[in-house]
């Protein structure tokens, strides 16, 4: 899932303003960053805005990059901030502060259909894939961004925490809630597919 981990970049060259090296960085990360934008915002135009703004900011600030975190985590941090900012612009009515208790509560499963052994071509049919995406968009954004970085882009818990300025404990809690929420949503969908056959 993380097709970019094997890339090595010269931080020195990047910091010195080496255009060719920056172009390599853009090539390596344009798809992951675009994907993050698309899955956070849900449409291509906004995903492209996230992508362009991320690399414009990266270009602007690469001279000061201090390698406290890895280059990829740094890029994901910029991209996640861009995406969250755009989301707030789109829906200004959403309150910034959510109930404090929210992070501690996990909702108990209600879906106990065993769909895990369904054939993969059914689970990942065109319609199935569309449903996977719909389920992500139904997640609260605080959970969505954590799930995308950890389970879609393959960042570690530590890197996800770093990119989002969260504690590792907060990342783990949100990840658990995101995964349980998605499992529940997929369960409702796939259970119907099993029983209707």
């Amino acid at each position: 899932m993380n097709e970019t981990t094997q890339h090595e970049f010269s931080i020195e060259a990047l910091r010195a303003g080496d255009r060719a090296e920056f172009a390599r960085l853009v090539e390596a990360y344009s798809s992951p960053i675009y994907r993050l934008g698309l899955k956070m915002l849900g449409d291509q135009q906004n995903a492209e805005d996230v992508l362009q703004n991320t690399f414009l900011k990266a270009l602007q600030h690469i001279g000061n990059f201090e390698a406290r975190s890895s280059l990829s985590t740094w890029l994901y941090r910029i991209a996640a901030n861009e995406a969250l900012m755009l989301l707030r612009k789109k829906r200004p009515e959403v309150p910034i502060d959510e109930p404090a208790s929210e992070d501690d509560e996990i909702s108990l499963p209600t879906q106990f259909t065993d769909w895990a052994d369904m054939p993969e071509n059914e689970l990942l049919s065109v319609e199935g894939r569309r449903h996977l995406n719909d389920a992500i968009h139904a997640l609260p954004e605080k959970l969505r961004v954590v799930f995308l970085l950890r389970d879609i882009e393959g960042l570690s818990i530590r890197e996800t925490a770093d990119a989002l300025n969260l504690t590792e404990t907060a990342v783990k809690t949100r990840l658990l809630r995101a995964r349980l929420n998605l499992r529940e949503q997929l369960g409702h969908y796939y259970a119907e597919r099993i029983t209707s056959e």
């Binding site: 920056f22 172009a23 499963p109 106990f112 259909t113 895990a116 995964r179």
Partner: protein, 92 residues
């Protein structure tokens, strides 16, 4: 989910406790003892076994289909233009 299967153990891991640890279990972050307890619980609790298998499968499906989404070529071209990196783009 019920907790009545485990009267034979000293500590009975409840379904809710299992649920709270399920992510850490998948991440491989739990002690051997706790992993053992979780496996024992699942052997006697069909609901938790299903939740665990479908939980794992959920992560796997997203993981597997992540590569579906790539930045389209025209989007990449516009990005390179915006960054004034046209001279460096690799035409595919």
């Amino acid at each position: 989910m019920t907790t009545h299967h485990h009267h034979e153990h000293d500590h009975q891991l409840s379904c809710k406790e299992l649920l709270g640890s399920i992510s850490d279990y998948v991440e491989g972050e739990l002690s051997d003892d706790l992993c053992q307890e979780i496996r024992q619980h699942m052997a006697g609790c069909e609901n938790c076994r299903v939740v665990f298998d479908t939980f794992n499968k959920t992560i796997y499906l997203y993981h597997t289909s992540a590569g579906d989404t790539k930045a389209p070529v025209d989007v990449q071209n516009r990005l390179f233009e915006k960054l004034q990196l046209n001279d460096y783009i690799k035409r595919k």
